[in-house]
């Protein structure tokens, strides 16, 4: 319609059809359809005034949706503590649903601890043991620190896909999500514990494996 080459005019109307954009605009503004459209817009604006009563109702409903401790001006539904609680719960559920990885890591660390303990078994209290003691400490630190590193990298990349599914902007702040890894801490807490029973001395002079296991289980109960 707007291209002059393709326009097809009904016969008898050649003088009334608008040809320039200005004529089009003028005709539209003078037409009854435009007038009714304007009337609709004005009626809508009358009913839902900006800053009027409906805004108040919306604000109240939003405030009712937000948790008790939240600032009214914040865009998030929950307060920070509420978010942390939710994320924490989610983390525990995740741990409960699939503990296989964590358990595997724990068992692996336990076995490593036993191995290291037996390598450095019963260090004598004399100066012969100086180097061995420092080596044990060094090894313990390194294993703990770098054992967690690899797992962390993998877990972060794996769980990000879960986190991004949630409607981020409304429910969880980013820092609240970072605290979701507290159940991972359980694993981290248990991990160095395995070293220490290996450093508990057995008073008996023997190195029989059965006594090893007996001492360890008596310590852990």
């Amino acid at each position: 319609m707007t291209s002059s080459l393709e326009r097809v005019v009904r016969p008898g109307f050649e003088n009334k059809v608008p040809r320039t954009p200005d004529e089009f605009a003028g005709l539209w503004k003078a037409s009854p359809e435009y007038a009714s459209l304007r009337a609709e817009i004005d009626a809508y604006n009358q009913e839902y005034v900006i800053g009027g009563q409906h805004l108040q109702e919306f604000k109240e409903s939003r405030r009712a949706q937000q948790s008790k401790h939240q600032r009214p001006s914040s865009p998030y539904t929950l307060s920070y503590a509420g978010q942390v609680k939710l994320c924490l719960q989610r983390g525990f559920w995740r741990l409960k649903s699939d503990p296989s990885l964590t358990l595997t890591q724990l068992c692996g660390n336990f076995v490593m601890a036993l191995v290291i303990g037996s390598v450095f078994y019963n260090l004598p209290q004399t100066t012969n043991s100086f180097f061995s003691r420092s080596a044990v400490l060094f090894f313990a630190i390194l294993l703990n620190a770098f054992g967690s590193a690899l797992e962390v990298c993998q877990i972060l990349y794996f769980h990000n896909t879960f986190a991004n599914k949630a409607p981020r902007s409304l429910h969880f702040t980013h820092s609240g999500q970072s605290l979701r890894n507290i159940p991972d801490m359980l694993y981290i807490i248990l991990q160095p514990r395995h070293w220490r029973p290996c450093s508990q001395i057995s008073r008996t002079k023997s190195a029989i494996p059965s006594s090893l296991i007996r001492h360890y289980t008596s310590w852990s109960t």
């Binding site: 290291i116 303990g117 037996s118 450095f120 078994y121 019963n122 260090l123 004598p124 209290q125 004399t126 100066t127 012969n128 043991s129 100086f130 003691r133 420092s134 080596a135 044990v136 400490l137 060094f138 313990a140 630190i141 390194l142 703990n144 620190a145 770098f146 967690s148 590193a149 962390v152 990298c153 993998q154 972060l156 990349y157 801490m185 981290i188 807490i189 991990q191 160095p192 514990r193 070293w195 220490r196 029973p197 290996c198 450093s199 508990q200 001395i201 057995s202 090893l212």
Partner: protein, 151 residues
Amino acid sequence: MVNLNRHPGNFFFFVLMSFMLTLTMSMLFRTIASVSRTLSQAMAPAAVLILAIVIYTGFALPVPYMRGWARWMNYLDPVAYGFESLMINEFSGRVFPCSPEAFVPMGASYTNASALERVCSVVGAVAGSNTVDGAVYIESSYQYVHSHKWR
């Protein structure tokens, strides 16, 4: 099993230090992972960091041996502080008797030598004494001082 220091205070200090060190390193690697887009992209700086941290912890390369231009890595390394605390935890306040084969000079004809004529061939020994003080040992070979325990 390993017969490290057997007092409960030292035990819990060990656990605390290990826990905090694990947390610290874990956070460090999370930081690296959060600024990189793929797993392989995160591995590169992580590997370099691991290497630097392991070397400059202060065990393989004791602190007195570190060159001035590389010493800063020892200051930045959290594992170094943890290792120092653990060493202090283990050695300070204890006195280790010298084992018989560490005495110099040694041998059948020297068994009756008096205390002043022989010395323990271990770093930190003092002539005339049969024992080596743990704190002196770590100070002289690693330069670890007891006041650094909670650094």
